[in-house]
């Protein structure tokens, strides 16, 4: 019973934050509600027993990625978004279509599937040791590939975000 109450509590925070992200017109408010969504998702992971995933969710998502977002919003001095003709068409057509699709999926999952098996609290303990064993044995190649991916992403971000004439000056210095 307590499990269900906790699930519904954090799930309600999740959904409220997601809807608040859509409703707010200022990006900084959207970013803050996204942080609330991610923090409560970490609580849901804890309910499922994935303690390490929950910790990483808070550190990487709610920490690093959202700090990146907030810094960009502050750097660009982003103001309220203005509505345009295209966005009105998207609202008129997109909102009903997506809602119908979502309700269909939810109805199928709840009443027309054999996924009704209950998950007890902390069903599968995601110990850091077990996850590390899996990550460094079975998934060693994908792990190394993602490290290369991160390296390329860092270099790409530096090149893209630096000013064009600074890049040109550095290239000239290399030649000379």
């Amino acid at each position: 019973m307590l499990h269900l109450i906790l699930f519904l509590f954090f799930g309600a925070i999740c959904v409220a934050g997601a809807i608040n992200l859509l409703v707010q017109s200022h990006p900084i408010n959207s970013a803050l509600s996204l942080i609330a969504v991610m923090a409560s998702l970490a609580a849901e992971y804890l309910l499922l027993g994935a303690e390490f995933v929950a910790a990483v969710q808070v550190i990487v998502y709610a920490g690093a990625i959202m700090v990146l977002f907030v810094i960009t919003i502050m750097l660009l001095n982003a103001g309220k978004e203005e509505r345009s003709k295209g966005s009105r068409v998207a609202i008129l057509l997109g909102v009903p279509g997506v809602l119908i699709g979502g309700v269909l999926v939810a109805w199928t999952l709840l009443y027309r599937s054999n996924l009704q098996a209950v998950i007890p609290i902390g069903a599968l303990r995601g110990d850091p040791a077990d996850i590390a064993r899996l990550l460094f044995h079975n998934f060693l190649l994908p792990f190394e590939v993602t490290s290369v991916l991160i390296l390329i992403a860092i270099m790409g971000a530096v090149v893209l975000a630096s000013r064009p004439h600074a890049v040109a000056r550095a290239a000239r210095k290399d030649e000379g």
Binding site: V15, L21, L47, A64, N138, L160
Partner: protein, 100 residues
């Protein structure tokens, strides 16, 4: 005792909210945040299925999704900064030319 389908429905709601934000938002940063919301919805179903099938590899895949999300956020925000430098707008409706 929470059925697996509840977790999947919660993940689906988050994904739908992300798709909606992607469609109706006009600020490029908010569109980017909607993509993160979609990735989070998928992550929740990954962890729920991992608990259901007693397979820890589902949780390992969440890490890979997080790595991709981090890389995407870094590169994407750098692109947003570059776009803002040349166009001085964050409205995607006004970013409609490949070349200035």
């Amino acid at each position: 005792m929470v059925p697996l389908s509840y977790y999947l429905v919660l993940g689906g709601i988050l994904f739908v909210c992300g798709v909606l934000g992607f469609l109706i938002k006009r600020n490029i940063i908010t569109i980017f945040m909607s993509i993160e919301l979609m990735l989070n919805g998928v992550n929740l179903s990954f962890v729920a299925f991992a608990a259901h099938w007693h397979a820890l590899s589902g949780q390992v895949f969440v890490f890979f999704v997080m790595v991709v999300a981090a890389a995407e956020a870094a590169v994407g925000l750098a692109i947003i900064i570059a776009v803002y430098r040349t166009r001085e707008t964050l409205n995607v409706d006004q970013v409609n030319l490949l070349k200035l």
